[in-house]
């Protein structure tokens, strides 16, 4: 009997010792006890939130350190400057939309704060930088609740009325918008991956920001630049942004932005320009999109130069009445692939005469959005051909200095050659065997 009792007690002790336990002392008390500019090192365990940080300190966790909110507010609210959060998981914030504010995993209102190696999930907004400057976000992973719950969740990283922040090496997925920027100038956003959101990047009323080497994949819209100017988008990748009226990049009611050396793959529309002026689109690659560039005539005075177009259903569609846009600058036009025949007898890699890109699809797209459903249809080429014969195509682009570039060699040309060789050898082998048997 006694042995049995000892056994049960032993098992009980073992079970309880393996259960996750909360910290003995509340995290808020630990924070309050940490001196100004001090460092609070947390163990690899779960701590109860919510917490408020009102002085400059560093909170540094280990693998498995989690701050779990009570589901009724911001999990971490920072009202001080020079705060560092590092190696933490933040979870279980309020998802309530009827409250006074939209809550977040982390909401910061201070300056020079740092957010390094964080995982944020089960919250409304992930990281909310509000009315502050010079914050640094590095390697933060925010995961939302999936694209099916867009209305009931917030953004991955939200910047409102802030400036001079750096957001880098972060991953955001399944949130409403990936990075939402409003009234926020002079920020630098680089090397981030945003996928499966509504807009990977949503920009409103924000100027002079830089985007560098970000990837926006499988969103409804890759990046939306609205009511903004002086933005530099360089070497970003916008791909697989497909859906109803989807786009890689939309520039709407914005001017003097530069889109330089970006890649637009497999989007419904690579770039969509509307009510925008004097933007510079240079050196971008538009490959395998339904429409490379869709340009509404409310957009004028854009410069398109040194862009590469390859295997898009329509390279460029200009929709509406005539508008003025420049398709070359300083004697450099764009690369139009094999779709436009360009003569270059003097071999200076610039066409000897201007080329016109014509299409009849503009009318379809203008009349009904369901036309997008047919852009991948094999019939589209016949439709274009019929309109070419009937002379009902319209000139979309006149490029006076089209560029020519020799195609790159495939990476492993031996494989396509090897397969027919194997088939032929196999066939000969079978033939010989049969003839021997007979």
């Amino acid at each position: 009997m006694n042995r049995l009792l000892i056994l049960f007690v032993g098992i009980g002790v073992w079970i309880f010792s393996t259960l996750p336990v909360s910290a003995d002392v509340s995290l808020q008390k630990l924070i309050d006890a940490t001196p100004i500019n001090g460092e609070l090192k947390l163990d690899s365990q779960k701590y109860e939130g919510n917490i408020v940080i009102t002085k400059p300190i560093a909170i540094i966790g280990k693998k498995g350190t989690t701050i779990r909110g009570d589901g009724k507010g911001n999990v971490v609210l920072i009202k001080a400057s020079n705060v560092t959060l590092k190696n933490l998981t933040i979870e279980h914030g309020s998802l309530n939309r009827s409250s006074d504010e939209e809550y977040s995993g982390i909401r910061t209102m201070g300056e020079h704060n740092q957010f390094i190696n964080l995982v944020i999930h089960d919250v409304y907004h992930g990281l909310y930088i509000n009315s502050s400057k010079h914050n640094h976000v590095n390697n933060v992973k925010v995961t939302g609740q999936g694209t099916g719950k867009l209305g009931s969740q917030g953004n991955g990283i939200q910047l409102v009325r802030t400036s001079h922040n750096i957001i880098e090496n972060s991953t955001i997925a399944n949130t409403r918008d990936g990075i939402y920027v409003e009234y926020a100038d002079k920020n630098e956003i680089r090397n981030n991956l945003v996928s499966e959101t509504r807009y990977g990047l949503h920009y409103m009323y924000s100027n002079d920001n830089t985007f560098y080497k970000n990837r926006f994949n499988k969103n409804t819209g890759g990046a939306a630049i609205m009511h903004s100017q002086g933005i530099m988008l360089k070497e970003n990748q916008f791909s697989f942004n497909q859906g109803s009226r989807s786009f890689g990049l939309i520039i709407q009611t914005s001017s003097n932005n530069t889109v330089l050396d970006n890649e637009f793959y497999l989007n419904q529309r690579g770039i969509y320009l509307e009510q925008s002026t004097q933007n510079r689109i240079e050196g971008n690659k538009f490959f395998h999109n339904d429409i490379g560039i869709e340009l509404w005539t409310t957009s004028t005075s854009q410069v398109f130069t040194k862009n590469h177009f390859k295997q898009n259903v329509a390279n460029v569609l200009t929709i509406g009445t005539e508008s003025y846009n420049q398709w070359n600058q300083n004697g450099k036009g764009n690369y139009w692939g094999t779709e436009l025949s360009v003569l270059d007898l003097d071999q200076d890699q610039i066409g000897d005469s201007p080329v016109e890109y014509r299409s009849s699809l503009y009318k379809l797209v203008e009349e009904n959005e369901l036309a997008y459903l047919f852009l991948k249809s094999p019939a589209i080429k016949i439709y274009e051909k019929i309109n070419e014969v009937l002379s009902t195509q319209k000139v979309m682009v006149v490029d006076e200095f089209p560029l020519i570039k020799k195609d790159e060699q495939p990476q492993a040309p031996w494989i396509p050659a090897a397969i027919p060789a194997i088939l032929i050898v196999g066939w000969i082998f079978i033939k010989k065997r049969r003839s021997r048997l007979s």
Binding site: E196, T220, Y265, H288, L364, L370, Y383, I419
Partner: protein, 265 residues
Amino acid sequence: MNYIWKEWLEQSRGKGLWLGLAMVILSSMFLMMEARSYPDELGFDAFLLSLYDMNIYLVPIFALFISSFSIFQEKELKTSMILLTKKESNRSLMMKKSIAIQTVVIGAFVGWYFILALLMKWFLQFQLSSFLYFVATVVVLLLIFNQLGLFLGNITNTKMQLIGATIFTWFLFVFLIDLAFIQYVPSVSYQNVKLFSWLYFLDPLHTLRFYLETSLGLFSLNNMSRLMEKMIWMAPWKFLLIDLAFWMTLFFELSILFRSKGDKS
């Protein structure tokens, strides 16, 4: 089982199936090389979409030819007549022939794609679930067009008729139907979009693409306009099942109804 074995022997000794398969294999390899030029994380999905685009052209015409010639041969060689005078009814013969053709052709194509999967694992970032969605589109495409081919083989009297009917049917499905849709698109409004939706999704080529893109998570069904929401009022896989049931039943019954006994001359 006998029918399947007989069909396999006939198809494997003939050249049609292998010729068709060889073209699919070659095209697949070239597409794979092209997909490798994409960024790593995009290559696999891009490859599957490219394969589907290729399949739209190749698979229907091969399925139509292989299945229609198979049933036509039964009539030409009078084997169907012998079978029908013994124990088979027209319906049971057609059913067994359909099962045999479907099994052999689907087996051969799917078999190739599983071999291709090994190469995909080698060259691309392979994802099993995406691959299986793709294979499902190939199977459905073959099921519908094989059945359509059996119908054509059944109703035609001469080989010339059969070739003409097969090419016309392929051209109709791949090009003409969409040309007609494109003419009709400007007149679609919120009021009549449901009718348009039914017509659009009854075309298996439309539904299959939609199913594939949504299953791969490439086409988002969120944030759609009111028009698009009314257009896509049912899950793509449901449209696909309706298509499958509708076209297979239709062509099977029509085959029995309009059966021709072969060249009257």
